[in-house]
Amino acid sequence: MRRRGLWTGLVLLLVLNLSIVGAASELTGAAIMERVDANMHFESSHSTMEMVIQSGRREMVKEMIIWSEGEDSLVEFTNPGDRGTKYLKLDDELWMFFPDAEDLVRISGHMLRQGFMGSDMSYEDMMVSDKLTELYSFELVGEETLGDRQTYVVEAKAQEGAEVSYAQRRVWVDTDSFVPWREELYAVGGRLLKVMEILETAEIDGRTYPIEMAVEDKLKQDSRTYVRVKDIEFDVDIPDDLLSLDSLTF
């Protein structure tokens, strides 16, 4: 099972994390998703990012530093309005620290369903667990040209009784680089809820990595969230005690 942190959730909530055992000799839907996953996999990372939340004429910019290792990650906001606010993901728990109130809050239940820092992503979206293969079945439904890129179109359907937020997903994966350029998330009745697009990629340590993406809530007019990676390093050393509850309150 590949391990991912909050950071992955943020940057790559478009990616369906997979761990398919066996060779991907034939390009089935699942095999394609495995290639996508392989491209995105890393042991640890350290990055700085910018999140621009547009809603109507309003625009909010948030900056953050993210450390990530395995399942765990820590996000610290650095823009003036939110400076010191931290999120810590430890396995499947999410904790939040507000510096003003000096208060540590565990985000659970309903709160997970709300927008992350006012963006178009919910906490739950970012908590993307790595068990999607157990939750969805994938099918390659065709190839399409997306802009000037050739892509595989993979459809994911929730398995019977699986507890997932989105009953269906549809992903457009680059046939060469296996970058998932576009992903659509659907409600049970088949209504399109969210669209996530990768706007720009960069070659980092020999892999094609998304560095700018947009999330759009299709039920809200003029509402978009952009995430831009300003700087990222893979497989870095992260101090042992950084990804712990103690570190949150410092």
């Binding site: 239940g109 309903h110 009784g161 997932v164 937020s165 409600a187 809820l193 039920l219 809200k220 007019q221």
Partner: protein, 408 residues
């Protein structure tokens, strides 16, 4: 002798009629405020309780025992099959019972997103337990149709009117998003701000199939004419015993938070009311004291002519008694007049605070409540305490040595 003293006292008060009048009105005003406030606060509690029963809790509510724990209220986490409803309905003492499915929803109108509590109701049976409130516009739901009746205030905020469509995003029983479109067929105007601001009703069958939850509900609500709710609660609990996870609570238990506000408010009221009485009483003490000081020579004269200390004290006590009795009586009479108006026509609380959420299940017109025992008590306490307030200055005045007093 006491008649002479009473006449003396009355004459002395009349001599200083402006001062007497001022003290009297202070006391009367205190009594008036006390009684009217008590009436309106009782009216608040009454309306609040009625709103809770009529819109939220009924008389008894059956829910999953863990409902509301760990942020699970308004979710399907503790929904259950309502096969139990028929046996509830046939229980003696139950006038009507309905099941509802209440879930959290995000209402989208394109530009706006609004959090709303979506309540699936049986359009035919629901009004037997939750009486239909006034409609601002439109009509009630039809089973099987994608229709919505919502609070008028929410509609106003979102600029929605009858005939418009709204999309509500909710979670199915497995937690997956579901987006359903409803046509708004009615807008409600209720005395309960929560309903006006954040509630939408849709047909239960439509909501259940939309959320892949056929036959599932989050609560069964009971209306009862039975005064012994605890008894009925025990009976229903016995019925639910073989469905271990269900719990029966009376509306008082469900509404414990609101009722607790009422109780702590009563304590604050008590303090406030005592303050008003204290201010009125200081006025009485002041009047008697001033009277005694002004009449030092007179008292000396009376004593020189053989009046006893007891009689001097008695004369002053008559004065404070007259002020207390007339002031309290006047206050009570005015309070009854004002309250008659509040009981009849009420006071429109909405004008004062708008449809603001003040954490109270109340908006609109609050009606006063008669509390005759309190009127009697306030009259008696006002009179007795005013009289007693005169004791100290009266005794001081009476103890003066007549020779010293005459020299003043």
């Amino acid at each position: 002798m006491s008649q002479v003293l009473l006449r003396l006292a009355a004459r002395n008060l009349w001599r200083q009629r402006r001062r007497t009048l001022l003290t009297l009105s202070a006391l009367a005003f205190g009594v008036l405020i006390l009684l009217v406030m008590d009436s309106l606060f009782a009216g608040f509690d009454d309306l609040g309780s009625r709103n809770l029963i009529d819109f939220e809790t009924g008389h008894l509510q059956i829910r999953h025992q863990d409902y509301g724990d760990d942020g699970t209220s308004l979710s399907m986490d503790h929904a259950f099959r309502d096969a139990y409803l028929d046996s509830v309905r046939s229980t003696a003492g139950v006038s009507a019972a309905v099941s509802r499915l209440t879930v959290f929803g995000q209402l989208h109108t394109g530009r706006e997103e609004y959090y709303i509590q979506t309540v699936g109701v049986d359009p035919a049976a629901d009004p037997q337990v939750f009486p239909l409130p006034e409609f601002n516009a439109g009509d009630w739901l039809t089973p099987g149709e994608f229709q919505m009746v919502m609070g008028g205030r929410a509609a106003e905020l979102l600029d929605l009117s009858v005939g418009d469509y709204a999309t509500v995003v909710m979670r199915t029983v497995t937690g997956a998003f579901q987006a359903l479109d409803f046509q708004i067929v009615g807008l409600l105007h209720t005395p309960h701000p929560k309903v006006n601001r954040m509630t939408a009703y849709v047909p239960l069958d439509v909501l259940q199939s939309g959320l892949l939850a056929e036959g599932m509900v989050t609560e069964i609500t009971v209306r009862s004419d039975n005064r012994d709710l605890q008894g009925l609660q025990t009976q229903l609990a016995a019925l639910a015993a073989d469905r271990g996870e269900l719990e029966v609570s009376t509306w008082q238990q469900t509404a414990a938070a609101f009722l607790a506000i009422g109780e702590s408010k009563a304590a604050v009221n008590g303090i406030f009311l005592m303050l008003i009485m204290l201010i009125a009483l200081v006025g009485v003490v002041n009047t008697v004291l001033l009277g005694a000081l002004e009449r030092t020579r007179e008292i000396g004269m009376l004593k020189a002519m053989g009046m006893r200390e007891r009689e001097v004290v008695g004369e002053f006590l008559y004065e404070s008694f007259i002020i207390g009795a007339i002031g309290s009586l006047l206050g009570c009479a005015l309070a009854v007049l004002f309250n008659a108006y509040f009981v009849q026509s009420g006071i429109d609380f909405g004008v004062l605070v708008g449809d603001m959420d003040i954490g109270y299940p109340i908006s609109g017109v609050v009606f006063g409540v008669w509390n005759w025992p309190l009127v009697l008590v306030v009259f008696a306490v006002g009179t007795v305490v005013s009289t007693l307030a005169g004791v100290l200055p009266a005794v001081r005045a009476a103890r003066r040595d007549p020779i010293w007093a005459l020299r003043q």
